[in-house]
Symmetry: C2
Subunit: 213 residues, 2 copies
Amino acid sequence: MAARDYGQYCGVTRGLELVGERWALLIVRDLLVGPRRYGELAAGLPRIPSNILAARLKELQAAGVIRRVPRSRVIIYELTPYGRELEPIVLALGAWGFKAMGDPREDQIITSDSMTMALRTAFRPQVASTLPPTAYGAHLGPAELLIRVDGPTLDVTRGDGPVDLAFSAGPQIRRLISGELGPDRAIATGVVDVLRGPADLLDRFARTFHLAA
Amino acid sequence: MAARDYGQYCGVTRGLELVGERWALLIVRDLLVGPRRYGELAAGLPRIPSNILAARLKELQAAGVIRRVPRSRVIIYELTPYGRELEPIVLALGAWGFKAMGDPREDQIITSDSMTMALRTAFRPQVASTLPPTAYGAHLGPAELLIRVDGPTLDVTRGDGPVDLAFSAGPQIRRLISGELGPDRAIATGVVDVLRGPADLLDRFARTFHLAA
DNA sequence: CCGGATCCCATCCGATACTG
DNA sequence: CAGTATCGGATGGGATCCGG
């Protein structure tokens, strides 16, 4: 343990010792969406070697950040209350990193958990409160998300359901979230493809989810 | 660059690519206190190898987080506005890590920059507003800090000056900040040693600086 | 000195293969 | 499905060296 330790008695160094290793905070990010099985985590982090995932899970468990729960023949990993306290930090880091996102590269993928957290980051509860409850079905690359906004509360789940507006988009949806592209231009340029429902609901979506770039 | 890249198009991964490397966020932490020279950074991060420090400075510079400023024969590193936006994240991570700090080990040191940031994390402006302006001189291991509280504003600098209360303490001061130890018991047990001024001002200090454990 | 660059070794990570 | 085992290459740690 002395090797990876920073040798300082300081809250920041302690925090980094617990979740500063490569991949660790991304595991936390995905677990913030919900409990996950080993294979689900591996699928959501496609480039993580399995030995690293196994090692991180053990370390995070030893650090009291996550818990390994055997549940009816399968093993589930979930955040402890202490681990859940990382949520504002992960969201803030996501908002900070969002500003440095350029255009997507060919080899960069979108996962449903990362998009879910991005939506939570971009969600503006006070704006949403002024708008009628709305359900969106977003097909974002391989992820199919059901986004339900009701007043100041947001609920994002995987899968399908009844929606007011269904659309598909690629990584370029960032430009809609950042306001770089208006909803109408997003549709005109093909960044967003409306599948079902009135296209002007995309404006409501863009006002509900916004992140500075 | 493809090696250390996470392969996802996501704000969190982007943020981690910029400041997620080992030591990077600690360099940011120290620069949040103020601009620093190479040697000052090296002194504040005693276990960092010089090649790593040099490499991180270049990477952070390329990432737009810090700036290298030649100033009258010496080179100064300082945060860019974008880098300064990391402050709430570093403070939040420090508060989170604070909860996982046990008792200090022999080989763990305290630096003045890390203590300065810890004080900023623990500072409670709304409490301080109700108290008279106060200057503290804190001798924390090798760090001598001049802590000036005036209403909701906090100013921490290195060095000496006129103070209302001067005290010295070691790493155990964490137990005072966390409330685990009351001011009187902190003095009685020798955790805090009052050097000058009325000892009851330590109570004011403890109310001004508090962090949950 | 200050601000690094270089070298060498230990450790960690990534890719793939394998197992209960 | 949930991990271990293994191995080459990348990265970090520590010491030393160099140019201004």
